[in-house]
Amino acid sequence: MGKIHEKYLRMDKMPHIWCAGCGNGIIMGAFINAIDRLGYDKDEVAAVSGIGCSGRITGYMDFNTIHTTHGRALAFATGIKLAKPRLKVFVFMGDGDAVAIGGNHLIHACRRNLDMTAVIFNNHIYGMTGGQFSPTTFKNKNATTAPYGTTDPDFDIAQLCIGAGATYVARGTSYHARLLTDLIVKGAEHPGFSIIEVITHCPVNFGRRNNFESPAQMLLWQKEHGVAARKAKTMPLEDMEGKFTIGELYRSTEIPEYLEEYGRVIQAANEEKKQ
């Protein structure tokens, strides 16, 4: 990491609590590299997280940080952005956090298009609570709550967000760490609600139950199953079976950003007061 992490992390809180080989640390590294590249001052960044192993990220980074409640990080972040529009707001959620308990907050945040950037740590499991399956656990995988394999089809987070109206949607992995930094930079620069889904790994509560011998093997799985979105377009459909696209998946500048719309309301209210 060179010395960048010493600038952006709360070094007195290191080593972090995440298990050996957990993807969360890699994502945190990719994120601080993105902030460094964006050149944001630490005091103009607000980092908001929900509950889960992923949610602990806000304890380790030296920005304006708030560790909120399970599933509600986006609601807190919305309030922060509306009250202090100058802040660059980033939201960190787990898959359970974002699409199980927080699913409604997620789709409505997508619909509003407020200028924030959300990073979803999709490790396909409830890591923190011991490995219960989540809405993104692939069918037939083992979890503490599915000892014979899950029966439910999984959500595609990126497609869900595109459908709900997010105006920048990308998917990365913890293995493709350089790409992840690029995607976070682009999401932050996009004026509207940006989502970056990160396919990552929980070696302890997903890997051990699903025949992954090591964290490295899980990273290798990401390397072998993530296909650049541009390349996927030219591939026969059957070759994409079981794989997923990575890179920028969707961008729109046609939908107005929420603060602009909200600004009209503030202006109208002020004019009424003057009369």
Partner: protein, 72 residues
């Protein structure tokens, strides 16, 4: 053409012995010790790609360019 050289270090006190750097260094610079922690064994092979720095989840690896030699 001078050959770039790199100094690779692992902070053993925070290494969690996850094996990621060992598995993904394209030049097999790392081995492991009796606790499975990473050891920089063959630093002269390092090309400075920084894959290890990016993938270590615990921020223990530092890669610094040290010198340029004329003899390659």
């Amino acid at each position: 053409m001078g050959k770039k050289r790199f100094n690779v270090t692992v902070d053993r006190t925070i290494c969690k012995a996850c094996g990621i750097c060992v598995a993904f260094c394209p030049m097999s610079v790392f081995t492991t010790d009796h606790d499975d922690k990473a050891v920089v064994s063959v630093p002269e092979r390092c090309t400075g790609c920084r894959q290890c720095e990016l993938l270590c989840p615990d921020f223990c690896i530092t890669v610094v360019q040290v010198e340029e030699t004329a003899d390659g």
